[in-house]
Every structure is written in C-alpha cells, then in structure tokens.
C-alpha cells in the first residue's frame, strides 16, 4: 500500500509544485540543514539499521560522505527506507535528495525514469542461493528447471531471472514479494527453493537466515549489476557534488589518504595530495564545486576512503567477508577508477 501512497504523493507533489523553476538541490539541502537519503529497508552491508537504530553500510556511508562534503559534518543525514518499488518515485518527487540504495544502473533508468546515476559504488552480479540440505546434488543454476524462485518485485533481478530461464529453456514458478523482509521470510519458510538477487545481497541475507551453513550460493553470475547512487536530472551542480564525492573517496584511497592520517597528509610534500586536500594556495576546486575547499578532508574524516568504507561494511572487517575482487582500485586490477581532482 505504501508505494501507492508515495505514488499519489508524487502525483500530488508534481501537481502542486509551482511551475516556476524551484531552487537547486544544494540550496534546498543547505536551507533545511540535512541531506535526505533514500536507502533500502534493510540489506546487511549496504544499508541496514544496527542495534542502536543507526544506519550502517556502504550506501548509508556514501550519504554521510556527501553530507561531510556539503556541511563538513557526516552526521547531517536523514535516512528514508524505501522498497524497490518506492525508490524511483521518492527520488523523482523530491522526497529524497540522493537515492543510495543498491540500485542497478541501466539505460532505462537514466533516460525514461529521469535519473542520473553518478557512478558504480559496487560492481555486482545476480546469483542464486539454495538450501543445500533440502536439495542435495544441485550445484549449478542450470539444474533449477521447475523450481519455485523467490524474488523481489520491481527489480532488474526480476527481469534477469525471466531472461535467464527463457534463454536456457527452463521453467520456474516466480514467487514475488514487494519487500525484502517478505522475500527472506518466504525463502526461510520453504515457500520457494531458490532465492535470487545480487550476489552481495545473497551473502548478506544468508547471515540472517535460521541456519546460514545450510545455504549455498551457486557459482553462476547471470548479469551485470553495477550498483550506484542516483540523483534527479536537471540539477547539474548537485549531480557534480554527489559524483565527485564518489571520485574523492576513490582518489583518497589511491593516494593513501585514510581516516587516521588525513591531518598529517595535509602537510604532505606531494603537490597532488595537497591539491586534493585543498591545501594549495588560492585553490578554487572546492568552491567551484559549490562546497568548501577542505571537502575531501571532511569526507575522509567522516567515513574514511573507499577502501576503508568497503572493508568496514562488506569486506574483511565485516561479517560478510566479501573479497574486493573487481571492486579493487584499477591500480590493483579492479574496476574502480576515478578521474583526477585538479
């Protein structure tokens, strides 16, 4: 029901919005004093509330990084949990300023939906998970013909699933739910044989199941799922701030700037590090972007660099223990690559 409410709200907002061009997102955000960040309803490692009710995960931290760039304070974020179905309407209608919610970047979303993805904060791919105890002998997704498959509605996952089974001439019964928790509960209760979503998500969900050791993630990756934050179209300044926050996180890791050493690094002999951290004389890099010149310092102080963010939330420092893999920096054989800050 809630997505209808948001839909109607969206229609109402679109209808009642004064037709005169509204102020830019940066000014609106500054006026209200915080960034409204759209996150998932709870996906471990990406965005999930901890036992104190604080949102944790890569996607949540990304919003904190933007808040640090804008306000110099990473805590000036309010989170809006959104289901897969609600997320785009919430962003389109201006209910959230950034959608940072393990969302796949596709052409349709960049064009017909009127969004602008700022980059790929996590390279993912869709996989399958089964209960190995109940289904011994199944070790490939190609053996899944006839299975009941649990999937969240309104996702690219749902579309890839249909394509994959069709391409391999297999049949399946879709068991489709709107909310992640409902999919988890149905899979755990045995309503379906297979759970499909992004592989990172499967590892996170496995931890929340009754007996995680019984469940295995099958080796096949059936799609490309570049996950990243998105903003509305038509506001280039805000788009650049969010996009360069992501690049700053990567450049900081590449230059070895960490949460611990960021203050020392300000006095570094390297002109590049000094430039990135806004220590160059008469620098205008930050102010041209619309933020203060020490924006990168603020970002790193708030959430660390990209590598620290990854390790803390999904990598070796987290229960998920996902390897960096293709999410390593380009210098280490991965795909994460940022243009220079200069």
């Amino acid at each position: 029901m809630k997505h209808i409410a948001i839909g109607i709200l969206g229609v109402a907002t679109l209808g009642l919005m004064a037709s005169a061009a509204s102020a830019g997102t940066l000014d609106t955000v500054k006026a209200k004093g915080f960034i409204q960040c759209g996150v998932s309803t709870g996906l471990a490692g990406f965005s999930a509330p901890d036992d104190k009710g604080d949102w944790q995960g890569i996607d949540a931290d990304f919003c904190r990084a933007v808040a640090a760039a804008v306000f110099g304070d990473g805590t000036k974020v309010k989170f809006t949990p959104l289901s897969a179905k609600e997320r785009f309407t919430a962003l389109q209608s201006g209910e959230v300023d950034i959608l940072s919610r393990n969302t796949t970047w596709t052409i349709n979303r960049d064009t017909a939906l009127g969004l602008n993805f700022i980059g790929t904060t996590y390279y993912d791919g869709q996989g399958f998970m089964i209960n190995a105890k109940k289904l011994p002998g199944v070790n490939s997704a190609l053996q899944l013909s006839g299975a009941a498959v649990c999937v969240q509605s309104g996702t690219t996952t749902e579309l890839n699933l249909a394509d994959y089974f069709k391409a391999n001439k297999m049949e399946y019964n879709p068991v489709v739910f709107e909310k992640l928790e409902e999919v988890n509960a149905a899979y755990d209760a045995g309503r379906c044989d297979v759970y499909t979503t992004d592989q990172s998500g499967l590892y996170g969900i496995r931890l929340t199941l009754g007996s995680p050791a019984d469940h295995v993630v099958l080796p096949e990756i059936i799609s490309k799922e570049p996950l990243g934050p998105a903003v509305r179209q038509g506001d280039d300044q805000w788009y650049h701030i969010v996009k360069w926050t992501y690049f700053a996180l990567l450049d900081a890791e590449e230059l070895g700037i960490t949460k611990a050493n960021v203050d020392e690094m300000k006095n570094s002999a390297s002109p590049e590090i000094k430039r990135v951290l806004g220590q160059e004389a008469d620098t205008k890099i930050g102010t041209d972007l619309g933020v203060s010149n020490d924006w990168v310092v603020n970002i790193v102080k708030a959430v660390g660099n990209y590598g620290e963010m990854f390790d803390r939330n999904v990598g070796s420092g987290s229960p998920l223990k996902i390897a960096r893999g293709i999410n390593a920096l380009w210098t280490k054989g991965g795909l994460q690559y940022a243009p220079p800050i200069r």
Binding site: G10, G15, L16, K85, N108, S153, L159, F177, A186
Partner: protein, 395 residues
C-alpha cells in the same frame, strides 16, 4: 420551488446585483470555473513538471515488452507479453479473488448471521465469537494469519499430505487432479446445460401448480437428479471420455494436476472470513428488522419454523440486507489489494511492478484508480438491479 416562483414573478427591484436568480447563477458559474480551472492547473503542472524532470510520460509504455513473469496467469502471459497485458492479468486475478470471496463470504455470512439468532445456545455463542473475532481484527492480519500461521506450517512438497481423490496439500499450495476432456466430452456439457434448463422449467411449473392447486412437488430432488444424472448418463453413453492429470512428485515441486497457490488461498480465505463477519451482522439486523408479528402470523397459519424463515422472514429481510451488502462487496474488492503483502499478483501488485519498471508513476496510479473505480461501479450497478427486483412491489 414555491418561493422561487413568487420571487420570479416579482418585478426586479432596482439593481440586478440584488436579483437572487442572477446571484445564484453568478456563484454557480464561479464555482464551476474555479473547479475546472484548478483541475486544468493541476494537470498542466503535472505535465510541465514531468517535462522539467525529464520523466517519460504518456501511455505508450503499455505496448512495451514486460520482461517479468507472473505466478498466476489466468490468460496466456509470458515475459514477452506487453505491460498492458500484465496489468490485465492482474485485473483478472483481482476479479477472480473478489468474486470467489464475495460468494464464500455471503454463504458464511448468512449461515453465521442466522446462527446468531438461533435458539440453540451453543450455535448462537459460536457464531457470536466468530463475529467478534473477525470483525475486530484488521484484514491484513487475517491475511497474515492464514499465510504465515496456517499455510506456511504445512509440510514441504516431499512430505505432502495425501488427501482423497489424488489431491495433495503442502506449503506450496493445494494440488488436485485436473480433468482432461477427451473426444465426445462435449456431450457431458450439453447434458449439464439441458439438466439445468429442465430443472428451471420444472421449478416454474411446480410453482404454477402450487399456486393453482396447492399441491407441492419435490422440486429439489427432481432438479438434483436432472443436473447430476443427465451428465452422468452422457458420460457413460459417450464411452468414458474423461481422464485425470494427477499431480506427481518431481525434483522441486509437485508437477501436473491443478495447483491452487497458498497466496491465493490465504487471500481468499482471509477476505471471506473477514467480510463474512460484517455480512453476518447485516443479515442479523435484517432479520431483526422484520416485525415479530410477521413470524407470529406465519406460525398462526401453521407454517413450520424452517418455512417461516425461508418464505416469510428472509424475503422481507433481504430488502433491508441488500443495500449494506453492496458496501461490503465493494469493501471486499478493494481489500483484495492487500494481496501485495503476500505476493498474490493482483492488480495493485502487477500494475505496481509495471509502474516501477517503467517509472511512470502518474499513469500507473491513474490506471489502478480507474480500474478499481470501474470494478466498484459495476458491482454497485449489479447490486442495484438486484435491489430493484427485491424491493417491495406495491400493488
């Protein structure tokens, strides 16, 4: 009317500003202009803002390839079908669950409603408890009760409960044999139609005879024999053309046969149970609304209590019952949109998925609203016809 006539005849006194007719005309025009002006302004703004935000608009998306699968497809549908067809599949699913729910809720409701007025202490209390429980729990919780509380605790497919006639019950739903119609089975269908037509004819004749002579005829047993016996005879004569496709165990699920999914079952049971509680109260109110003198007069004529209820009380109660019953039917239809919580692909769920895959929220919500509006208006129209036929005909 009268006062207006008088005013109209009076000669205009001075300025037309004081003329009540012109005043009322002025204000009515003003309201109409304001109303349509603001509607136009809102529509225009939506269009402007969609353009400004670079969001696609229009209904062209309905012809696009859907790309997702739906679990219950009463009409042919694959991921290659269009978004429009996906929405129609959802609409048909809504109609199916609403129609099944309305029939069951009405039957349960009448039984419980009459039961609450029973002289039998136990029956009366059981019916009261039923009404008080289901009337006071939100329908969403009733749906979860059936879905998580009852159906989800059934055994997995490998350990299904074996029921009579080759049917099975497990947490994936209820499976029963699907009839496969062979050559010559059209004869059975014809026999069934003939049986129903003859029963109707017999009932009519019997009523006419009773009106004329007072003699009764066992209509029920004759009809039953005709409706069951004729198709059975046709089945034998055409050489047993009917066979059954039985559900069988395969790697993951039971295959073959006919499967009723737990999502449908729990939604259907929940809506029926929930709405039945309200219908029971309406029926009770209707029966109570029939004057006690009617019952006593009928008893004085020597009718038995069953006949009094059937011939005297219920027909009169129906006049009170039908208008509020319509509201309950509309409620049930609209409550079926709660299906989304358990993943039954009704209109809200499929149109919601389409809305999300295409991002066209304005059009998506508009389609849903219009579809539910039409469904409700059709239900009301049908019930108004029924009401008109039941209404007291004054002679």
């Amino acid at each position: 009317m009268a006062s207006q006539e008088i005013l109209r005849e009076e000669p205009s006194r001075g300025s037309f500003v004081n003329d009540p007719r012109i005043r009322s005309l002025f204000f009515q025009t003003l309201v109409v202009v304001l109303l349509f002006g603001s509607i136009w302004w809102i529509v225009q703004n939506v269009i402007d803002n969609l353009h400004r935000l670079h969001i696609a608009s229009g209904f062209g998306f309905l012809k696009g390839r859907a790309g997702f699968d739906i679990s219950d497809t009463p009409i042919a549908y694959t991921s290659d079908s269009t978004y429009g067809r996906a929405i129609i599949v959802g609409l048909i699913n809504t109609i199916i669950v609403a129609a099944a729910g309305i029939i069951t809720a009405t039957i349960i409701g009448f039984v419980i409603g009459i039961g609450r007025l029973s002289q039998n202490w136990l029956i009366q209390k059981i019916c009261t408890v039923y009404v008080e429980i289901f009337r006071n729990i939100p329908p969403l919780l009733v749906i979860f009760f059936w879905y998580s509380g009852v159906l989800a605790v059934l055994p997995p497919p490998r350990d299904s409960y074996h029921l009579p006639f080759g049917s099975f019950l497990n947490q994936r739903g209820f499976y029963f044999p699907r009839p496969v119609w062979g050559d010559g089975s059209w004869l059975i269908l014809v026999a069934l139609v003939v049986g129903i037509a003859m029963s109707w004819f017999v009932a009519r004749k019997a009523r006419q005879r009773q009106m004329a002579t007072g003699q009764q005829f066992p209509v029920f047993w004759t009809s039953a024999a005709l409706i069951v016996g004729l198709p059975l005879l046709a089945y034998v004569l055409s050489g047993f053309p009917l066979s059954f496709d039985l559900p069988k165990q395969s790697t993951f699920n039971l295959t073959g046969g006919f499967q009723v999914k737990p999502e449908f079952l729990s939604l259907y049971l929940a809506l029926s149970c929930y709405t039945a509680a309200f219908i029971a109260e309406i029926v009770r109110a209707g029966i109570r609304g029939v004057s006690k003198g009617q019952t006593e007069a009928a008893a004085a004529l020597g009718l038995r209590s069953g006949s009094i209820l059937r011939l005297v009380v219920v027909p009169q109660a129906m006049r009170i019952v039908i208008p509020p019953l319509t509201s309950q039917y509309l409620n049930l239809t609209k409550n079926s949109s709660l299906a989304i919580a358990i993943g039954y692909p009704d209109l809200t769920a499929t149109a919601g998925t389409v809305l999300n895959q295409t991002g066209q929220a304005v059009e998506g919500v508009l389609i849903m609203m219009i579809a539910y509006l039409i469904l409700s208006l059709v239900t009301s129209a049908v019930m108004n016809v029924v009401n008109a036929r039941m209404a007291l005909v004054e002679r």
